[in-house]
């Protein structure tokens, strides 16, 4: 149960990392009302692995993901994606990084209602002005299980199917890293399980680096590595943990 324990003070650094954070802090507001969401987080995300970030609500896990994914800027510290430091980049440069390095899976899917499933999947490519590689794309659709739903609009799809579209959309440009923000948060448990399986499978099939923020132990259990966040700090780390290990770790955290 305690086998994969790591001390909180040590930075979580691994070899072959594609995303690194160094001493990241994030403060919201000023003066008396200031809130420290992150209080010095350093971490590395390993290439081709599924990393989960877990923590109770208010622990700063969402903020961490936003900063890792260049959606938000740290108050201090810095983030590198594939060797490029994000701080101080222009909007255009960050846009370029998003196109080549970053994919997103959202809790509320964020599909465009007027486009078909296929068009939604292809959107990142068409925004970047690229053409899909035919065989890869067909293979992706088949693996994701969308080949017979490709001309449906999001409103004609179930929640699980919509999230499949979103996953395919995140994978289609073969980004350096995919960020998934509570991907099962808006789904029932059966569908959620299917989606988790799909994510795990995608990491394996495409050696896709994936960072997932979640508060569900079941979701974290599919990860190669789980980082536990509390009060804006990484307090624990597990590798290849089972659902029960994760649950126990969480319980310990909340008991603190």
């Amino acid at each position: 149960m305690q086998t994969h324990k790591a001390t909180a003070a040590q930075p979580a650094r691994l070899n072959g990392s594609v995303v690194t954070a160094t001493d990241v802090t994030r403060r919201y507001g000023h003066g008396d009302t200031a809130v420290d969401a992150l209080r010095g987080v350093s971490l590395e995300v390993a290439r081709g692995k599924l990393t989960a970030v877990m923590g109770p609500s208010g622990s700063g896990k969402s903020t961490l993901m936003h900063i890792l994914a260049a959606l938000d800027r740290p108050t201090s510290g810095w983030v590198e994606i594939d060797g490029t430091r994000l701080g101080g980049l222009s909007d255009n440069a960050i846009t370029k990084i998003r196109r080549t390095h970053i994919g997103f899976v959202f809790q509320f899917f964020n599909l465009l209602p007027m486009l078909t499933a296929e068009e939604n999947v292809l959107l990142p490519l068409s925004i970047a002005g690229e053409k899909p590689e035919k065989s890869f794309f067909e293979d992706l659709l088949r693996r994701i299980g969308l080949h017979d739903r490709r001309s449906h609009r999001p409103s004609e799809l179930s929640g699980g199917q919509q999230q499949r579209v979103a996953i395919a959309r995140a994978l289609v440009s073969r980004p350096t890293v995919v960020f998934a923000d509570e991907p099962t948060g808006n789904l029932d448990s059966k569908t959620g399980g299917e989606i988790l399986e799909l994510l795990q499978q995608s990491v394996a099939d495409y050696q896709q680096t994936l960072v997932m923020v979640t508060h569900e132990a079941r979701a974290a259990a599919i990860a190669d590595r789980v980082l536990f966040l509390a009060d804006g700090r990484i307090v624990r780390e597990l590798e290849c943990a089972g659902e029960r290990d994760v649950l126990a770790a969480m319980e310990e955290l909340t008991a603190l």
Partner: protein, 965 residues
């Protein structure tokens, strides 16, 4: 990205088409104006080209080249003997003399009144034996050959159902006479001459009728084969010398069409102005709508950003959306313009301002201009929302309820607005008061100033929304309650009908109430319509004056009915009856009212932009109405200040000169104590074109009062042969003092030296006499045609109806002469002025309609945005009618905001322009009634705009609304 924008648009068809409507009307107006004026242009072209189609050269009197206020003095006639000289020229094949008169010949309708519609009434003397010179085409009958025969135009023939063989009365310089219609003619290819008419006589008859014995107005010449028109012109010039003007047919056609072309161009720009105003208002609507949709799509735009869309791509996608809306709207508007052109023509006809037309002309230029302008305006209006869209941060994709960040510049908006308003006022001041500006320059800077003023005030108005909405909310409430009194009869009426259809299920007492309501309905609405008509169409027939009384009575009755029904309804409701009116109208509904008030204040920018669109329309009608009121006052004062006589005789149209014989005819009236007339024509005086009037020095002071600057009435007796009285402005302009001499040149080519005997100061707004006044005897000896501007008549005692009848009878043989008292004349001018004003109102109404779409748009979009909120309100017990009331209330508050901003702005602009027109002594008067009506109209706009959105809001399914994302 473009596909996303287009698909998004396709997914919001209803909202997109509402948005597009804002541009459609403006483009339609532009395309309609162009189509109509092109059509008029072509008709005139046809007329002129056909007039000289078979003519190689035209010989006419030596041009005097005297111009005054855009009018050119007519060339003098040429002696008939010249025809033989022309025929003697070796290269001449055929030549014929003709008579062309533009004003004096008037065909009478079947009631005996002259047909006059603010257009020329032509009289032709045509030598029909030389058909190649004849511009007209016979539709029926033959050409006239004797003193009792006439051919008339097909338009008049149709309107008055005159046919070949009918007898028709025609007024000329001679007393009215009866002729036989022997033919009906028209200009080939010209469908309608507009308001113009023509009567064709043989040349000899025309000469007699128009006092032109022994003269022609023109000689048409055809060259022998092998001689070019240019050679012919040269030959004729060398043969005839300087006595005449010789032009080739083409030159003459160009010369004739030049004047008209200027007029048509004026109308084109006049109409286009209203198109541009509507487009400007439309731009506000587009700006607002796109701003709202961008705000509503924050999450979608942020998602696109996370997927790698750059700012430029976001910008492009919003602009593409604007472009597509603009393009679609412009295409629709372009074709709608066809219909509008017909409508405008119909409007002109209604106001007796119709111009000649042919089949509608659809020029490539129309297509290009309409599309270009429509698209450009839409895209420019979409620029600001598009720029805002680029500032949506990607993180909004993961945040619930993310809102658009306020712009970097928004902090400075009030300052920018302040600077803009200051700039606008400065620009307006410069353009209105600076001397020596070109007209085009002046107009451009006025347009720029007004534009900047509107935008500046619109930018400032978000600051005003909160306090104004607070102040206006109770007004809106009482207005709505009050209006319920008016529209309740409609509901009663509707129920009456539905009950009658389904079989009576009501008790006798209620049936009686409904019946009463049904009876009140038409009266109430008749009253409203009449009230509006009173403002739009001016003085109304006396029987309509009953109407305001009916309004009052109906309103009181309806209000009483409401009051009485309140306890009844309360009791019924207490007993659990499911009634039509779940809530009595007079019962307060504070929750709904508060929600509405807060709603209109919670997004001040949006409310302000919506109200600003209406503000523009209201400001412009207010401006027009205030300025018009001032001008009307000035006109009245000018007339009462100058005219002393009991009666004034003018031509039927009020401004043309008329036959001098009228004076002698009027003198035969048994009660005529004094009859004196005023001759008038353009002459070249001291180097400039001016009106030169001739008066009887002995009698004029009994009819006209001179405001002497130097001299007195005694000066008139000393006028003699060469004395002149000049207006002060003219004297100043030409540096003339009493005793100074100056020269007069007449259109006929006579030169004469005059001496200033007195200087007077006529009211600058409407001086009735010309800048130079001489004795009538001198005048008659100098000018070719004795034509009167006025004939004044005094009678003993009061100018009674009987007295008028006697004078009427005396001048009956000159049907173009209109006898009226001073007051009648003022009234007539007022009503003509009012007619013009009505046209302005109608044209400005276009921009008000556009702003209605703006309000509808905003409301529809906010209902959409607030779906969840509305669902919640419904879930906690708000009824459908309360939901409707909520939206309606909000709409009326917005509309009242528009009025509250527009009225002062319009009054301010009118004050500015009045000040600028100071030299014409325009007064500043704020007319109460029209302004009140504009406020009522604004409220009406609010109610109408709320109809559809309120319906949508009330129909929301509660459950679905709650789950709506």
């Amino acid at each position: 990205m473009t596909r996303v924008a287009l698909r998004g648009l396709a997914g919001r068809k209803f909202r997109a088409s509402l948005t597009a409507l804002a541009i459609v009307l403006g483009v339609a107006m532009i395309s309609g104006s162009l189509v109509l004026t092109d059509t008029i242009d072509r008709a005139f072209d046809r007329i002129f080209v056909e007039s000289y189609a078979g003519t190689d050269a035209v010989v006419s009197g030596a041009s005097s080249d005297i111009k005054f206020e855009g009018e050119t003095a007519e060339s003098p006639p040429i002696p008939a003997a010249l025809l033989d000289e022309v025929r003697a020229v070796s290269t001449v094949d055929v030549a014929a003399g003709s008579i062309l008169e533009q004003t004096a010949v008037k065909i009478l309708d079947r009631k005996g009144d002259p047909i006059v519609k603010n257009a020329p009434t032509f009289g032709f003397g045509i030598d029909a034996s030389v058909s190649r010179f004849n511009p007209l085409e016979l539709k029926d009958g033959r050409w006239p050959t004797g003193p009792a025969e006439v051919v008339i135009d097909s338009g008049t023939a149709e309107d008055e159902r005159y046919g070949v063989g009918d007898r028709v009365q025609v007024a000329t310089v001679r007393p009215v006479r009866e002729f036989e219609v022997v033919g009906i003619a028209q200009y080939g290819g010209v469908e309608s001459l507009g308001g113009a008419t023509f009567a064709v006589f043989d040349v000899r008859t025309a000469q007699q009728l128009l006092d032109q014995e022994g003269t022609f107005d023109a000689i048409q010449v055809a060259a022998k084969a092998g001689t070019s028109p240019e050679e012919l012109v040269a030959d004729l010039e060398s043969a005839l010398g300087k006595r005449v003007t010789v032009r080739s047919g083409v030159e003459q056609a160009n010369e004739d069409s030049e004047e008209v072309a200027g007029f048509v161009t004026f109308i084109r720009y006049f109409l286009l102005t209203f198109g541009f105003i509507a487009l400007f208002v439309g731009a506000f609507v587009i700006f607002n709508t796109l701003s709202i949709t961008v705000a509503q799509r924050t999450r979608e735009l942020a998602t696109l950003r996370t997927l790698g869309a750059s700012r430029r791509q976001v910008l492009t996608s919003v602009l593409v959306e604007a472009f597509v809306i603009g393009a679609l709207a412009s295409v629709i508007g372009l074709f709608l313009g066809f219909g509008l052109a017909k409508l405008l023509n119909w409007l002109f006809k209604l106001l007796e301002l119709e111009l000649p037309t042919t089949g509608l002309v659809f020029a490539t230029r129309t297509v290009v201009v309409a599309l270009l302008v429509g698209i450009l305006v839409t895209v420019v209006a979409g620029l600001a929302p598009a720029l805002r869209a680029t500032r949506v941060p990607p993180i909004s994709a993961v945040r619930e309820g993310a809102t658009l960040p306020t712009g970097r510049l928004s902090r400075y908006t009030p300052y920018i607005a302040g600077v803009l308003v200051a700039l606008a006022v400065a620009l307006l001041g410069y353009s209105l008061f600076a001397d020596e500006l070109e007209i085009a320059q002046r107009l451009l800077s006025i347009a720029g100033g007004v534009l900047a003023l509107f935008i500046g005030v619109a930018l400032l108005s978000p600051k005003l929304v909160r306090p104004l909405a607070r102040a206006l909310a109770p007004v809106s409430r009482w207005v709505l309650v009050g209006l319920t009194g008016v529209y309740l009869p409609v509901l009663y009426g509707a129920w009456l009908v539905s009950e009658a259809v389904t079989g009576w299920t009501l008790g006798a007492a209620r049936r009686a109430v409904y019946l009463l309501g049904g009876l009140l309905l038409p009266t109430a609405y008749g009253a409203l319509v009449a009230l509006v008509l009173r403002v739009v169409a001016g003085p109304v027939p006396s029987w309509l004056l009953v109407v305001p009384w009916l309004v009052a009575v109906t309103s009181i009755l309806a209000a009483a009915l409401l009051l009485l029904s309140t306890p009844v309804l309360l009791v019924l409701r207490a007993r659990g009856a499911r009634e039509v009116f779940a809530r009595p109208a007079f019962e307060r509904d504070p929750a709904t009212e508060q929600l509405a008030r807060e709603n209109s204040r919670r997004n001040p920018g949006r409310t302000a932009a919506t109200a600003a669109a209406l503000m523009i329309g209201i400001a412009l009608v207010t401006f027009v109405s205030v300025l018009a009121q001032g001008m009307r006052e000035s006109n009245r004062d000018a007339i009462t200040g100058q005219i002393k006589s009991d009666f004034v005789i003018t031509s039927e149209d009020g401004y043309s000169e008329f036959v001098a014989g009228v004076t002698d005819a009027a003198a035969t009236a048994p009660n005529a104590e004094l009859v004196t007339d005023v001759r008038q024509e353009i002459g070249q005086v001291a180097g400039a074109g001016q009106n030169v009037t001739g008066v009887d020095p002995q009698q004029i002071t009994a009819a006209y009062s001179f405001e002497w600057k130097e001299g007195s009435d005694a000066v008139l007796a000393e006028l003699g042969r060469s004395g002149a009285i000049v207006a002060e402005t003219f004297a100043d302009d030409k540096d003339l003092a009493v005793g100074d001499a100056f020269t007069l040149r007449t259109p006929g080519g006579r030169h004469f030296t005059l001496t200033v005997k007195g200087i007077y100061e006529p009211p600058p707004f409407y001086p009735l006499l010309g800048a130079v006044t001489i004795s009538r005897d001198t005048w008659d000896s100098l000018f070719e045609n004795a034509r009167n501007r006025f004939t004044f008549v005094n009678v003993p005692g009061e100018p009674t109806k009987e007295a008028k009848r006697a004078i009427d009878a005396a001048v009956k043989k000159y049907p173009d002469a209109r006898v009226q008292t001073r007051q009648e004349w003022i009234d007539k001018e007022d009503s003509e002025f009012q007619q013009f004003l009505s046209m302005l109102y109608i044209l400005l109404a276009l921009s008000v309609i556009v702003s209605v779409f703006g309000i509808v748009n905003t409301l529809v979009l906010s209902v959409f945005e607030r779906t969840r909120e509305l669902g919640m309100l419904r879930a906690v017990g708000m009824t459908r009618s309360q939901t409707r009331r909520l939206i309606r209330h909000e709409s009326v508050i917005t509309a009242l905001l528009g009025a509250a901003l527009g009225l002062p702005l319009g009054i301010f602009l009118a004050a500015l322009v009045t000040e600028a027109l100071g030299q014409w002594d325009v007064q500043f008067r704020i007319p109460a009634t029209p302004l009140e009506i504009f406020v009522v109209a604004a409220i009406f706009v609010g109610i109408v705009a709320a109809l559809l959105p309120a319906r949508r809001a009330a129909r929301l399914d509660v459950l679905q609304a709650l789950q709506y994302e």
